[in-house]
């Protein structure tokens, strides 16, 4: 694991992932044993039987093992496909729902510069959600289906967004801690085995570099401001620290999806590894802020070469994931209302498009 953790270090990793993606694309995938090396005509493929399925599976494994990318039309194990759909969709839903806790401070931002930065961030999040839905769609779902699953409560989004933004300092804490945790999760995904997801993650990570920085900058200013501002900042950190740690999911021992996801390179590091990386990143950053992290047990362990810390309350995480967080209902209601109230607009656009097509068919 890497010791130098700052945005520069993480951005460098994104560039490296992108360079490796291009380099891998130049190499041939060696299949070694099974499989046809035919000329790729349709006749052979249409006779697919069990032997062919084994050959396809072997090729899939070889591609993944060689750190090359699986692309939309490739054969893939059904569980690989469903895992990816679930993971990408959850990520997409998180971006969209994540617009809400921050978006509701746009109108109240305390300076025009901060208002502009927040507008840009929320706009980016909409865009990131759209990139991710587009990646998920290459796997055989439609965005409409995924949105319906979200609105029906049958697909999840990151539970971190079920906490309220009680003060302006929360906007800083979200940028520093929540986006920071998201970046630690996302950078390894730039090396995910599925091409469209890896490419979307590279694009997202590049655009997201300023999000964490601006959150940190907000807190830095507050910490050096009036006593009321300083208190606001410390209070926000006290409330967002443990939920941010919980963003990395349950401990490895209890994580159901992880083993297979790691084998298929959908996930590149375990929950605990990423959580530790995040903690080690934040400690010096908190020191530079002059504010404290709300964990008396937090200290450097020279033997491990990492910080010891109090884990978050996973029972609470499960409750919030299960729908019992402070704002679950509010987030979903906002989304459902927007969708319902927009129905007439979508219908109008479709009707207009149909009229245009009809008009174009009429001979001049």
């Amino acid at each position: 694991m890497h010791r130098d953790e700052g945005i520069g270090g993480l951005l460098g990793e994104v560039e490296a992932a992108e360079a490796d993606l291009r380099a891998a694309a130049e190499r041939r995938v060696g299949t070694g044993t099974a499989g046809r090396t035919g000329d790729g005509t349709g006749g052979e493929a249409s006779e697919a039987g069990e032997a062919d399925e084994a050959a396809l599976a072997a090729y899939f494994e070889a591609v993944v093992a060689a750190d090359q990318k699986v692309e939309p039309r490739d054969w893939m194990p059904e569980a690989y496909r469903t895992s990816l759909i679930r993971q990408i969709a959850q990520h997409a839903h998180s971006e969209i729902i994540g617009m809400q806790p921050e978006g509701n401070w746009i109108t109240r931002a305390p300076s025009l510069k901060r208002k502009a930065i927040l507008l840009a961030k929320v706009q980016d999040e909409a865009g990131h959600g759209l990139y991710l839905y587009a990646a998920a769609e290459t796997l055989g779902v439609t965005r409409d289906e995924l949105v319906d699953l979200l609105l029906a409560g049958r697909q999840k989004y990151s539970s971190i967004f079920n906490y309220p933004t009680l003060s302006w300092a929360d906007i800083g804490a979200i940028g520093w801690l929540v986006d920071g945790a998201a970046i630690v999760n996302q950078v390894p995904l730039c090396r995910c085995s599925y091409g469209p997801y890896a490419r979307a993650m590279i694009r997202i990570c590049k655009e997201e570099s300023f999000h964490q920085r601006q959150g940190y900058e907000i807190l830095y200013g507050l910490a050096r401001g009036t006593p009321a501002q300083r208190e606001m900042a410390q209070d926000a950190i006290d409330r967002w620290w443990y939920p941010s740690l919980a963003m990395f999911g349950p401990p490895d021992a209890e994580s159901t999806h992880s083993a297979r996801s790691l084998a298929w390179k959908i996930k590149r590091f375990s929950n605990d590894e990423l959580r530790q990386r995040f903690v080690d990143m934040c400690v010096p950053q908190a020191e530079a802020l002059g504010l404290t992290l709300p964990d008396p047990a937090l200290h450097w362990n020279a033997d491990r070469g990492a910080h010891d810390f109090t884990p978050p309350d996973y029972a609470e995480l499960m409750r919030v994931v299960g729908g019992d967080g402070p704002c679950n209902r509010e987030r979903m209601a906002h989304r459902r209302r927007a969708h319902a109230e927009g129905q007439w607009v979508r219908e109008a656009a479709a009707a207009h498009a149909a009229k245009r097509r009809d008009r174009e068919r009429v001979p001049a």
């Binding site: 969209i96 617009m99 809400q100 978006g103 509701n104 746009i106 109108t107 109240r108 931002a109 305390p110 300076s111 025009l112 510069k113 901060r114 208002k115 502009a116 507008l119 840009a120 929320v122 706009q123 909409a126 865009g127 959600g129 759209l130 302006w168 907000i218 200013g221 507050l222 401001g225 009036t226 009321a228 501002q229 906002h334 989304r335 209302r337 927007a338 969708h339 109230e341 927009g342 129905q343 007439w344 607009v345 979508r346 219908e347 109008a348 656009a349 009707a351 207009h352 009229k355």
Partner: protein, 251 residues
């Protein structure tokens, strides 16, 4: 000195139009019918806010009383704001928001384009206008595209769009009230004919009608001299409250 005051007021009118428009658009976050529209509205809000900041900053400098963009945005009271009433009205439904944006952005685009091309106007104002003009063309295009789709979509969308035009039209006269600045800037009154033809073109394609010229005389005006509606009071309360709660603080 009074020519300077007139020009400062002129800049505040343009700047407040942008600021209040950005504020209203910012209320739409995560609330539009599709995520693409959430992006577009946030994008437009950001553009409007950017222009507001340039205009308020310049106005503050010229005024010479040490007020920067934030002092002007957060510490003025209602009667000191100079935006048109059209900008401060609540968003209403998407049809309302789009038609209001159509009317405003057509006005802004014409003003910025004319100003950027004019000779003899204030240089810095002309530079701001030149920068804002391209963005403004995009706002006009966006609102025109949607006005057409709503007007010429379903019966329901047509009804809602027509309702928006009917309710908002009386507020458009204020946009063309005459302003004098000793030649440093163009009189908005000169824009009315071109504005009408731009807007009429869109409304016609959208199969929407609008009231005849002169149907409403000066019924909805006053914003340009600080006589605002309760809507601005509510808007400013939200915009300003946090900043005012911490006097002298930086963010």
């Amino acid at each position: 000195m009074s020519a300077d005051t007139d020009f400062v007021d002129y800049l505040l009118r343009r700047g407040d139009d942008c600021l209040v428009t950005a504020q209203r658009l910012g209320e739409w976050y995560a609330g539009a019918h599709e995520m693409e529209e959430d992006m577009a509205l946030a994008n437009i809000a950001l553009d409007q806010l950017g222009t507001a900041r340039l205009l308020l900053t310049y106005a503050g400098e010229l005024e010479g009383e040490g007020r920067d963009e934030d002092a002007l945005a957060y510490l003025r009271d209602d009667p000191q704001f100079r935006n048109c009433l059209l900008a401060e009205l609540p968003n209403g439904d998407f049809g309302h928001t789009i038609v209001r944006l159509l009317f405003l952005s057509a006005y802004q685009w014409l003003l910025y384009a004319r100003t950027a091309d004019a000779t003899g106007v204030d240089e810095r104002w002309a530079a701001i206008a030149a920068k804002a003009r391209k963005e403004s063309a995009y706002h006009l295009d966006h609102s025109a595209q949607w006005t057409v789709r709503l007007g010429d979509g379903t019966d329901e969308s047509h009804r809602r769009a027509q309702d928006a035009v009917d309710r908002l039209w009386p507020y458009t006269a204020e946009l063309f009230e005459s302003e004098t600045t000793d030649g440093r800037a163009l009189d908005p009154a000169t824009l009315r004919d071109d504005w009408l033809s731009t807007v009429d073109k869109v409304l016609t394609e959208a199969t929407l009608s609008r009231p005849a010229d002169g149907a409403f005389e000066e019924t909805h005006t006053g914003g340009r001299r600080g006589a605002h509606t309760a809507h601005l009071r509510d808007l400013l309360a939200e915009l300003q409250s946090l900043h005012r709660a911490h006097p002298g603080a930086t963010w």
